[in-house]
């Protein structure tokens, strides 16, 4: 039964992932943004576990567990901790208004599907059709990083881009070898920790974590 509906369920998860990417793009509140990021991680965990079960690729269970530990628990916890310590609950300011951003986002999705077409045709995986969605969510996260002016949302964009990449790897090749996934996870975690130190340093200097303060270094 599940074997039959499995691939379709994976596609459903992919659709939810894309929906969450759009939700993050349109979200103004930082706490909701972190929760959406955690939700995205959870969908990623579910779909990876499902693909593992469908295909019998045991190492994917490992990736799924890693996703759960890192992206659903550890990173959102670090981000929540940062927000609490900084004692800010700002609304996220965007540099371009949200409807325009959404329209640009739709164009990016179409672009991503076009780019992914030759690759997903070649893929022999049951999940090959999800590659386009993965690429789309990478591009949407990229867009989010460009349109946000605060440090923390920019980083959430970066982390969500990594989610998209991870999903791309699962979709096209049933995940990278486990060693690499551990390495990537380690880099992401260290990056998030460094970011934490960094956000405090920025705040200590500027009394704000708006990266628009960080625009003094320009060519004259």
């Amino acid at each position: 039964m599940l074997q039959h509906y499995g691939p379709q369920l994976v596609n459903l998860f992919a659709a939810v992932l894309l929906l969450l990417s759009f939700a993050m793009l349109s979200q103004r509140r930082i706490l909701s943004l972190i929760n959406l990021y955690a939700a995205q991680g959870f969908v990623l965990f579910l779909s990876t576990a499902l693909v593992a079960w469908l295909t019998g690729q045991h190492h994917l269970y490992g990736s799924a567990a890693l996703t759960l530990a890192l992206k659903v628990i550890a990173l959102p916890w670090i981000l929540h901790f940062l927000i609490r310590r900084l004692n800010v609950k700002w609304d996220v300011e965007t540099l371009i208004n949200i409807p325009t951003t959404m329209l640009v986002g739709i164009v990016l999705v179409i672009l991503a599907f076009n780019l992914a077409l030759p690759i997903s045709q070649l893929a022999g995986t049951v999940t090959h059709s999800t590659f386009g969605i993965a690429l789309a969510s990478v591009l949407l996260s990229f867009l989010m990083m460009i349109t946000r002016s605060k440090a923390v949302p920019q980083v959430i964009g970066f982390l969500s881009m990594e989610n998209g990449l991870f999903f791309a790897a699962t979709g096209a090749v049933y995940g990278m070898p486990m060693v690499i996934e551990f390495g990537v996870a380690l880099d992401v975690l260290v990056g998030a920790l460094i970011l934490g130190i960094f956000v405090f340093q920025i705040r200590e200097r500027f009394d704000s974590v708006d990266t628009r303060h960080l625009e003094k270094l320009k060519e004259h």
């Binding site: 990478v138 690499i180 460094i194 920025i202 270094l217």
Partner: protein
């Protein structure tokens, strides 16, 4: 596992751990030199082994050493060691001036070693996934170093560095995933499909469409770290605002290492595609970097920023050379990597002390170095002459080779290159000359400056320009053949 590689990687790892605990002690700078020296010894042993036995794979094929990367390993270990020698008095002076705290010194020394480790891992690993992980680690270890002074400008520079290189490196991960995707069809799933030696063996069977898309992502990703225009924005800021030893290793080593990663992928992509797709991209990005950097050079007022733009220009030139390909251009590219790395770090050493003397990095306020400290003045002057490609320095030889190959293979590009090099010459020389000569306002430094590294590097560049030992030339030729 081969003892040379084990030592090569264990020495900076141990250094990173030990100095994280004791990096603020008075003798930490000497320990930093010691660990770097040990790494250099291991690199020398590795060179000896590769020269004797040819290319080797060790530790279950996880590491692969051939003449291309062993030469970069030696260069990296050498410049890391001399920079550690320079950094000892330099950082002491910074500490005396109250710019760095005890915690900052610990962070600095520890990260310096871990940064070396990350670069050596990129160079020696055979696994393209590990290469990505190590490259990202190299960014992460230097981000906090760029922000070491915690000034507004340094925080901004570090933030830009973190975000831009983070985004860039994410594109490279996508590229790596696509390469694995192409390889998995032929070699099957598992770590084997990420090993460069395995990929190289079957490169003509890899799916061309996937490889060309993958190479674009890899070029954007690793190209950001090389500092190729238009992905170069982080580079001048990070170089100008970080401590000078960090600028020296970023410019002299990290850019080379990122370019090395790109070359490895180029070899595979060229094998998979019939047409010279990768070559054209490399030439385009390289030429754009040379031109844009040359025009930005004349507008700089901060001395470290200016030399950062000069690094973009030279990396562009090297990328262009590898893009042209062929035995002569690749040979020239490798030679240029070597001499640029040596010269640029020597310049940063001299500039670092000059800026400490003047108390500023603004070129308008640095005057009369020759009068107060002739050795720093001569170091800067000779270094500048060398980097501008004046004979008899080695940079002249490599630039000459690149230009003559361009005349033969890509005549349309030659005038563009010549004009850009001319503009760069006029801008840099016009600004350095009054800094070295003229009236002075400099102060005395509390510790004697480290000038041995400056003149060692310049002497080596001079030797490479005047006479290249036959075994070295043979070695470069061999490495150039690997690039194609």
């Amino acid at each position: 596992m081969a003892p040379e590689i084990a030592l090569l990687l264990a020495s900076p790892l141990a250094g990173g751990i030990v100095l994280a605990l004791f990096g603020h002690r008075p003798r930490a700078a000497e320990a930093n030199i010691g660990f770097s020296l040990l790494t250099l010894v291991a690199a020398a042993a590795l060179v000896a082994r590769v020269v004797a036995d040819g290319p080797v794979t060790v530790a279950g094929e996880q590491f692969f050493i051939d003449s291309l990367n062993v030469f970069l390993v030696a260069l990296t270990a050498f410049v890391a060691m001399t920079t550690a020698m320079f950094s000892a008095p330099y950082m002491r002076i910074e500490r005396d001036h109250g710019r760095v705290s005890a915690g900052g010194m610990r962070l600095y020394h520890s990260m310096y070693q871990l940064f070396s480790l990350a670069m050596l891992l990129v160079l020696t690993t055979n696994n393209l996934g590990v290469m990505w992980v190590a490259m990202e680690a190299a960014t992460l270890t230097t981000v906090l170093l760029v922000a070491l002074y915690r000034t507004h400008a340094s925080l901004e520079a570090a933030w830009k560095y973190f975000i831009l290189c983070g985004v860039g490196i994410a594109q490279a991960l996508l590229g790596t995933i696509l390469v694995y995707f192409a390889a998995e069809k032929i070699l099957g799933a598992g770590v084997g499909s990420l090993l460069w030696t395995h990929l190289d063996a079957v490169k003509d069977q890899l799916e061309p469409t996937v490889m060309s898309i993958a190479f674009v992502f890899l070029l954007v990703g690793y190209g950001t770290k090389v500092g190729l225009v238009p992905l170069h924005n982080w580079l001048p800021d990070a170089h100008a605002e970080g401590p000078t030893p960090v600028s020296a290793v970023l410019s002299g080593l990290l850019l080379n290492v990122a370019l090395y990663a790109l070359i490895r992928f180029k070899v595979i992509t060229d094998g998979a595609l019939e047409r010279p797709f990768a070559s054209h991209l490399l030439m385009g990005f390289g030429l754009a970097s040379v031109v844009v950097a040359a025009f930005f050079l004349s507008r700089q007022r901060d001395v470290k920023r200016m030399f950062a733009y000069s690094s973009i220009e030279h990396m562009g030139l090297i990328t262009f050379a590898f893009g042209m390909g062929g035995p002569v251009a690749s040979f020239a590219g490798l030679l240029h990597m070597t001499v640029h790395s040596l010269t640029k770090s020597a310049i940063f050493f001299a500039v670092g002390h000059a800026a400490q003397k003047a108390g500023t990095q603004m070129m308008a306020d640095i005057r009369g170095l020759m009068r107060v400290n002739p050795t720093v003045g001569w170091g800067l002057m000779l270094g500048t002459a060398a980097i501008l490609g004046m004979p008899p320095f080695g940079v002249f030889a490599s630039e000459f080779l690149i230009l003559t190959t361009a005349i033969a293979q890509q005549p349309w590009a030659t005038p563009i290159l010549l004009v850009s090099l001319g503009i760069a010459f006029a801008s840099i020389f016009g600004k350095v000359q009054p800094m070295v000569f003229g009236e002075t306002n400099a102060r005395r430094l509390p510790h004697p400056p480290a000038l041995v590294p400056v003149f060692t590097h310049l002497a080596l560049v001079l030797v490479l320009g005047l006479y290249m030992p036959p075994y070295l030339a043979a070695w470069y030729r061999q490495a150039a053949r690997l690039i194609g």
